[in-house]
């Protein structure tokens, strides 16, 4: 907890590309595509096409570096809590690629909208994520136009409200599917959100010409009393962040992820109260979780790690250093990390939908996925390291004094070091939290 409150040292050591860099590339790629399409089969057109390809390749390379940086941070951090929480909250505010450049921006999005707030206030994170261009694009907010807005009234084309962002903010990001909202709340909230859009420079903008005029009642409170603008949208988002249903939904999600698939009701209540009392500050909520006795009940089986967490934590346990990861030859990083993680069922930055990755263990512990986890454990450590740790020592560093006897036996009985290391990392004790 103390490292969470301290400055983010890992972010400095392994920087991640600024989102604005990708936005500029996006503008450039759109410009080049325009030239290419207008000049088919000419030198000008071909030059534009070559430039387009180069821009896309540059963006892809930046993304690869960013993915490496994420892995390097995870293995080097004194404790990996900030890295874990960044993964968790980035998943909470899942975005899936929508465009050619956008497919490379997941890390930058997380760096800008999520990571600065994982030890701060949820309300700030909500505002940053909901208004982030990647979210605006993913959940179609960029095409949601008030029917009675200046643009909606004047347009020849049929245009209107798109409920997608409004619905997912209520259902997934704040109140939860069981929260106390109605379809009317979704509709009115969508009307309130009109005006949030992307400008020609691919930056976030509030465009009053798209904004649905009038007052919009959401969860019993009326917004839109003043003139259209971001102020009232921010106010609504801030109110949602402070709603008791949001507090319980977030507490339940955190507890479900880090403690148990069937979290203790009392723990959730205490976490929610801590969050509300601290004006949506997250550290008190984490603390309430970790201080609750239910978090220290190891009698049940812990939650299974997601593939990305599994592979990163394995690299960490093996003692692989961030610098080693940054120095891997081209292609090797993908081969050892992201590509393998995808085969375990998690194609990074391509979650199945806005609700992000599955929590249920049964989703991840399938024969196919387990086969790929075992195969990572057996193959990759010896490819990534010259000298492997002794499997018996690895039991202590990776699992600790509570390691089951069967694991100690297996670590001893393995026929060689590669197999022993593989078995320790493939063990349920290591794959579960």
């Amino acid at each position: 907890m103390t490292t969470l409150a301290a400055p983010d040292e890992m972010a400095e050591r392994y920087p991640i590309t600024a989102y604005s860099t990708f936005q500029d590339m996006d503008v450039e790629s759109l410009r080049l595509r325009g030239i290419y399409k207008k000049n088919l089969n000419t030198d000008v057109g071909e030059a534009a096409r070559a430039g387009l390809r180069e821009t896309l390749l540059d963006a892809r390379n930046l993304m690869e570096q960013d993915r490496r940086a994420q892995a390097a941070r995870f293995v080097d951090a004194p404790d990996a809590m900030r890295e874990e929480l960044t993964i968790f909250w980035t998943d909470h505010f899942t975005t899936v690629r929508t465009g050619r450049i956008d497919q490379y921006t997941q890390q930058s999005y997380a760096e800008q909208a999520i990571r600065p707030h994982v030890a701060g206030k949820f309300s700030d994170m909500l505002l940053a994520a909901a208004k982030h261009p990647r979210m605006i694009l993913f959940l179609n907010q960029n095409v949601s136009i008030g029917e009675n807005s200046p643009l909606g009234r004047n347009s020849q084309k049929k245009r209107g409200i798109n409920e997608n962002l409004a619905r997912e903010i209520l259902e997934l990001h704040t109140l939860g599917a069981n929260g106390g909202y109605t379809q009317t709340d979704v509709r009115n909230f969508a009307k309130l959100l009109t005006g949030m859009a992307i400008d020609r420079q691919r930056r976030f903008e509030f465009n009053a010409r798209r904004s649905e005029p009038g007052q919009h009642e959401v969860l019993g409170k009326t917004y839109g009393r003043r003139r259209p603008g971001l102020e009232e949208i921010d106010e609504a988002l801030n109110d949602l962040a402070r709603h008791p249903d949001t507090a319980r939904h977030l507490a339940w999600k955190l507890a479900m992820h880090y403690v148990s698939e069937t979290p203790d009701d009392g723990m959730i209540e205490q976490m929610a109260q801590a969050y509300l009392a601290a004006d949506t500050a997250l550290l008190p909520m984490y603390e309430a979780m970790l201080r609750h006795p239910a978090a220290w009940d190891f009698s049940g089986l812990g939650n299974v790690k997601w593939p990305v967490q599994y592979v990163y934590s394995a690299a960490r346990a093996l003692g692989i250093r961030g610098a080693d990861i940054m120095a891997l030859p081209e292609g090797r990083f993908r081969g050892a990390f992201d590509g393998r993680v995808a085969r375990m069922g998690q194609r990074l930055s391509r979650a199945n939908g806005p609700d992000g990755w599955e929590e249920a263990d049964t989703h991840w512990i399938t024969p196919q996925a387990v086969a790929h986890r075992i195969s990572w454990a057996m193959v990759e450590p010896s490819r990534l390291m010259d000298i492997l740790p002794d499997p018996r020592d690895l039991v202590d560093t990776a699992i600790g004094p509570d390691a089951p006897e069967s694991l100690r036996f297996v670590a001893k009985a393995a026929s060689n070091q590669v197999e022993g290391v593989g078995l320790v990392l493939a063990s349920p004790s290591f794959q579960r939290r």
Binding site: V143, Q183, G345, E358, A360, D361, P367, A371, E419
Partner: protein, 417 residues
């Protein structure tokens, strides 16, 4: 240590303990396929294939009520009006399903319109799919039901053999998950371990049921496939190439081709019930183009099954179901938002097709559900129930109590020949 650490005994244990049963809601790109084997003679030749269309298919776009005066103008950007495929005078079929018109004419393709599960109002894909697959009336009941309706139907069939069923897959089809034995399969499984390491893994996984089951099933499927007598299986790998099936490009299509290959492979053998998904029906924008692609996948899937099954097609029923319908009006982005009532597709030689079943509720503002959605006039579970009744003789009381607890089956219109 348990001295009997052999794989087969574990397999039996993990199967009899019925550990499976959880939801994998919206999973585009992942197309697991789920099978159930029935003992000889029980199911006879009747085959049931359930396709879950994840993402909420727009029933009003697929089966268009052009005979309803209020339909005109509702779908101006989605329907370009270029090609019409009249079905019965009241409904038109979406042009992308043109390849299925011969089936319609032969009475082997039908629909149920204005249908929905009991799920209302929140319009969440995830809850909607849970309810569709569990077959229970509310989200609260999903967990307690613990399994899907196809599986509960299997429990009514005496003598299903544990040793003929196992589960493999990246994600599950909840509709077939549950206590009754069944198998699952996903393309591209590989696991290569020395026997010594394998044995040590068994030690490690012994006390963790989830891992134990997953690893043993992975082994088991490799064994089973390796020892399969080739003469038992019809080679379908070149079947689609011969038929010139064009499935389009892309990862999800590749997965669908593999899924269909394997499904056919099993259905021509012992398997009688199969379930898989076609994903991506959440057409909030650009619906016209996306439906073209999605419906091509659906029609290719049906035609592939028909061609691959040969004469067995005559005793086959395919049901394609979705979690809910979409808004009656277009949204502002050339698409539709989450709605309520929708449509279900049925195909196969066993189906009494050539008609659209159901009572039409109308599309005037006052007729709509919450003034925005098609009003459901029938429970989509009833139609699944009629199919199971027609194919396997499941009694009405079993359907209303065990398979779909609390369902009022209503009058069976006889959708199975």
């Amino acid at each position: 240590m348990d001295p009997k650490l052999d794989r087969r005994s574990f397999l039996r244990q993990s199967l009899s303990s019925g550990l499976l049963g959880c939801s994998a809601a919206a999973s585009p790109l992942i197309t697991p396929v789920t099978f159930a084997n029935l003992p000889d003679g029980l199911a006879g030749e009747n085959r049931l294939v359930v396709i879950i269309l994840r993402g909420a298919m727009d029933g009003l776009d697929v089966v268009r009520p052009v005979g309803d005066p209020d339909f005109a103008g509702l779908r101006s950007t989605i329907d370009d009006g270029q090609e019409r495929l009249p079905l019965d005078g009241f409904y038109d079929l979406h042009p992308a399903l043109k390849p299925l018109m011969p089936l319609w004419q032969a009475g082997q393709l039908g629909f149920a319109h204005a249908v929905a599960t009991p799920y209302r109002d929140k319009r969440s894909h995830f809850d909607g799919q849970d309810i569709l697959e569990s077959g229970v009336a509310s989200v609260d009941g999903v967990e307690s039901s613990g399994n899907g309706w196809l599986n509960r139907m299997l429990t009514l069939m005496p003598g299903a053999r544990a040793e003929t069923a196992f589960a493999v897959g990246r994600s599950q089809m909840m509709v077939l998950a549950g206590k009754a034995p069944y198998r699952t399969w996903v393309p591209n499984t590989s696991l290569d371990l020395t026997p010594h390491a394998e044995r040590l893994l068994e030690v490690l996984y012994h006390d963790d049921p989830a891992f134990r089951e997953a690893a043993l099933s992975a082994d088991a499927i490799i064994d089973a496939l390796a020892t399969d007598d080739p003469s038992d299986d019809v080679d379908t790998s070149s079947m689609m190439a011969e038929m010139g099936m064009e499935m389009g490009r892309g990862r999800s299509n590749r997965a669908l081709i593999d899924t269909l290959d394997f499904t056919l492979n099993r259905l021509v053998g012992e398997t009688r019930i199969a379930a898989f998904s076609i994903n991506g029906w959440d057409t909030h924008g650009n619906q016209s183009n996306r439906m073209q692609n999605l419906l091509s996948q659906l029609s290719n899937a049906i035609l592939t099954l028909k061609a691959g099954l040969g004469s067995a097609w005559n005793t086959t029923t395919v049901l394609a179901m979705t979690e809910f319908g979409r808004t009656v009006r277009e949204n502002g982005t050339k698409g539709t938002d989450h709605g309520t009532g929708g449509a279900m597709l049925m195909a196969g030689g066993a189906v009494r097709g050539g008609r659209v079943y159901g009572d039409w509720p109308g599309l005037s503002e006052a007729d709509l559900y919450e003034r925005r959605d098609l009003l459901p006039t029938a429970d989509v579970r009833s139609y699944a129930g009629y199919a199971m009744q027609g194919l396997y003789g499941v009694s009405s009381s079993d359907l209303e109590r065990v398979v779909f607890p609390g369902l009022d089956l209503g009058v069976n219109p006889g959708i199975i020949l």
